[in-house]
Symmetry: C2
Subunit: 492 residues, 2 copies
Amino acid sequence: MNAEEAAKFEELLNPRGIAIIGATENPMSGGYSFIRAYLTSTYPQDKIYPINPKRNEVFGLKAYPNLQSIPYPVDYAIIGIPKEIILETLESCVEKGVKLVHIFTAGFSELVGYKEEGKKLEQAMSQITKGKLRILGPNCMGIYIPKNGLVLAAELPVGLENSGKIAFVSQSGAFTHIFTIMSHYNGLKFSKMFSYGNGIDINCPEILEYLNEHDSDTEIIFQYLEGFRDKKTAKRYYKVLKNLKKPLILLKGGLTEAGSRVTMSHTSSLAGTIEIYNSLIKQMGIIEVHSLQEALDALKLFYFCKPYPKGNRVGLIGGGGGNSVMIADIFARAGLKVPNLDRETESQIQSWIGEQFINGTISCNPIDLNAAGFDNRILKKVIKAFDDSPQIDVLVIFENIDFLIGFAKKMKLEGLSKGFYRFFVRLKKKLKKNIIIISVPVIKEADVLAEAFEVEKLLFGAEIPVMNSNEGTANALAKLIQYTEFIKKNNL
Amino acid sequence: MNAEEAAKFEELLNPRGIAIIGATENPMSGGYSFIRAYLTSTYPQDKIYPINPKRNEVFGLKAYPNLQSIPYPVDYAIIGIPKEIILETLESCVEKGVKLVHIFTAGFSELVGYKEEGKKLEQAMSQITKGKLRILGPNCMGIYIPKNGLVLAAELPVGLENSGKIAFVSQSGAFTHIFTIMSHYNGLKFSKMFSYGNGIDINCPEILEYLNEHDSDTEIIFQYLEGFRDKKTAKRYYKVLKNLKKPLILLKGGLTEAGSRVTMSHTSSLAGTIEIYNSLIKQMGIIEVHSLQEALDALKLFYFCKPYPKGNRVGLIGGGGGNSVMIADIFARAGLKVPNLDRETESQIQSWIGEQFINGTISCNPIDLNAAGFDNRILKKVIKAFDDSPQIDVLVIFENIDFLIGFAKKMKLEGLSKGFYRFFVRLKKKLKKNIIIISVPVIKEADVLAEAFEVEKLLFGAEIPVMNSNEGTANALAKLIQYTEFIKKNNL
């Protein structure tokens, strides 16, 4: 993809007007969710054109019987009508001069019992549109670009304040919606998101190439991939991987026999063999994940830990002896080092903890501060000691935020948790090393959680990743460090 | 442990009166949390005796200057005073005829820089009390028996309605508190819980022996173990394991070098080698977990899936194509089978889904019902087909409860989620096979979560395990099936 092609691709993502073909107020219909989506977006409402021959208005927006009756430019069309009228709809898109068509409609080459007919229909769709407009889909959710207000579901975070540096390219439509929501509550923001489904025209290699080489808004790429329609697409994909300039977190579906059986019905894709995949992962420095949860954990560390840690030696700071042992085990098992501090630092820490708190604490790495952890002066000194220690590359604090809030409420010690997390926000700026907080969820009470989420927001705002699983954090951190080693080794 | 010894042990757990030595209203003091704990328990308030020579009352309860001034029997004493006066306190316990002493106070043989003195102090404590009373601790949280109202923290679930069949034996004190709360929000209830810390008298082998062979209230045992004080204790432990009659879920701390370094400071225990441990796990059919989260997942399946599944062939039913692929991969990777249904069942399912819904669905195993999943008549037929299928041993439904509730609110389809989960409660009674629901958390909004937790409670009440992680469920299910195979193979 050269600069001109990239500019052309980018033009597709900045439509002057959007038609929603099949827009309706009937929630059982495909066009419903997209009109609802755009009603709750920042995209200019006067440039959204519902197409519905039976209605004058849809949700208060003027409706048009067809594309041709819209007296304004329409660059982007979202199609939610039955496949039986897909060909004539595409013809009218060509006629109107639409640049990009997103086909939400499903039931083409991926549908069991209809695969052959579906394939033929897809070929006819390509023929009608080739060289005239670009197609995203069919069987997909389309595009989400918070900066422009392009959305794929209702009430997504939009606007500049909700724009970030992560791109997500997904062969699954539902993943884009659910992962946007998961990410939103985990402090992550997106540059661009693409769901391309059966990918009969625009497919993941082209999108990745654009994101990797030409999109300055994107720093990290997350991809959900099931497989490829044909060898040509696969080849282009491998070519893109060879020139990776940005971290690519890859969730590859269909690596087991059970999973690959489904990819054929889902997006009409051959999942490929695990051997090819494994060698790719190794050679290209791709970051492998096996679930959205793992992807979320990895993205949080890649997003917030800047610059990346220099090595794999972790300093663990928290409360609870059993917790300390368990977490040390988990981090060591993930291939990370939990080294001893030097004797001097250890006895320094002991002296800071002092007589008042010493019983029940453990002054090594991991350190169990017990009640001393709530004395901010002690905690600050300890964290600074870990930050200064030449034995440590990255700091991990383990503390159950919700449990602490609930406990403080229960024990009528409301002051306890309040200042605790603001302390980290202030401290963060003074630290040389990355600091990660692990807060495993314990309590399920709405009032406690509301408070806990406020705390998390505060921490995300200060670029401190709050993680919700010990194993998840250890594994994600191991991936981050592996990646930095790959980069170093290959002089990237 | 013979019947007489068991009866004697059990007597310790049914105290006629409880003294809290060091009870105070000062939250920074050790005795504070236990008096708060008993004030919020069902244990008869008139049989709780705060000991505090400086006060006439503690939180409205009559305080006594010492044990001797209590004119009633005291069978159980909780000690939260400084270790400097531990010996004279134990002497007065002996004098009063106390049967069981729980020493919360820490800073004995586990404290770095005090290990030798601590050991000597512990020996003196044993000498004073040997043959006269039993000690739990020091450096521990004591006992939680919801049935009797014995508690180790404030506002724990107590009473018969909060009593269940799980026992937890923990070398970590903090784990008992936090795990009680985690479990409470996950539908799990306990028979008995023991935190024994340094275990200078009562230690895990004795507790396990009692639970395994004599306690009819306990069906499943969960243990957090760091190590043993001496070879005698280790030997007795192995003897108990050889006679295991109940499933033992074991979280072994200190299996890595990093973790084992901490166990010495935490509970003064040698963690033992991983080789001995691994051979034990295999030979005894012990269920191994590596974190509280894994323990929770395993316990939920062992607790709710009765009778245990007959084999490892999983039927996956849910929504979302990418989700279906990902979850099939995760279950297959955990060593479970996700078999094909027979052609006949598949085409039956396709016919039930029908023309209206067929686009975007996948009618194999895993099955992606898409919107058809919200038509209860279709869903019921599909689940029954999986329940009847000779290819399937256990049913797993994947559906994000919070996301569904949030989505329904957002799309103004409030009716959508409401009836959905009551449907499962009704259906559960008619199924031959176990049904497990996986609901990975997505949304962090208090109002949505409050509703989601109500749904979870409803499902737990119907003995349907609601799991919060795909990987966690797959791994826990693999453990459950491994255990049933072990039982079968060994004719247990």
